[in-house]
Symmetry: C2
Subunit: 140 residues, 2 copies
DNA sequence: CATCAATAGGTGTATATACTCCTAATCATG
DNA sequence: CATGATTAGGAGTATATACACCTATTGATG
């Protein structure tokens, strides 16, 4: 596969559609999308953070986060409150948020395992490594 | 990078955001997004095709295509007309469509070259190969 | 040939994404 | 300390994406 012939970006987007569809279908019963699971997980793992920090971490526009997080806030999975610096918004996962995370976990694991079975561990490990490496290189 | 720890899907989505932002920024002067370039390219290369064929080829929901293609139609880059089978829509790139494709080509090449310089050819070739492989495995 | 199933595509709705421009709060500097 | 620059975030707008449901056309079968 020659990368001078194929659009890397279209290729990435296509793969993302395929994989997202697979994950989201499995998560549908609990009403959480992989996008939302991703954001919740970051907030839960890294502790309270601001919009800008989460935006940077997730390579997402701040204005995208504003709207995505509002949905999580409405469902009471997170709280968004002003920080000491009144401009900032401190993002915190609620108890209800941790509950849905716990509920999502086994489904996520099953989705990962499915993919693993289809694609193979070595390929997937390599892919994830390459993707992360690319992100940090593109963003530097 | 252990794929049992990291969400493959979130990883993919993040990389897609990073790369899409880079491509779209370069293409902004001509007012064509990489998504649109991708769809146009497929239609130009594979010749006239139906919605369902393009949907299958690009791993995109048909209803997504309906709206994405409408934008290309409004700008007269494609025509959408009923086929012999009146249910089908035949998609064809217009002269104007080919013109914007030609205009986009050198910009796309520059975007690819940028990425190549940042990430390295071997990594990129491998990534594209792995991505395509994954798509066909997930879809089978 | 009539009727029912299958197929192609569109609409309504919801989420994900980002750009431009805007406001409010904080910071830096004379 | 006052004022201009910087920073954090939101609103308006537009595109990308997909699911549930709908219509119209075609095909299959008695």
């Amino acid at each position: 596969m020659e990368c001078t012939q194929v659009c890397i970006c279209s290729c990435l987007r296509k793969a993302t559609r395929a994989v997202t569809q697979a994950y989201d279908e499995m998560m549908r019963p609990i009403g959480l999308r992989v996008t939302q699971l991703g954001a919740l997980s970051v907030m839960a793992q890294k502790g309270p953070m601001t919009m800008t920090q989460l935006a940077e971490e997730s390579v997402t526009d701040r204005t995208t986060l504003t709207r995505n997080l509002r949905l999580l806030e409405k469902r009471e999975f997170i709280v968004i409150k002003k920080g000491k610096d009144q401009r900032q918004r401190n993002l915190e996962v609620t108890q209800k948020g941790r509950h849905i995370l716990a509920k999502a976990r086994p489904i996520w694991e099953k989705a990962q395992k499915n993919l693993l079975k289809q694609v193979g561990r070595e390929h997937l490990d390599r892919l994830v490594t390459d993707l992360c490496r690319m992100v940090s290189l593109v963003r530097s």
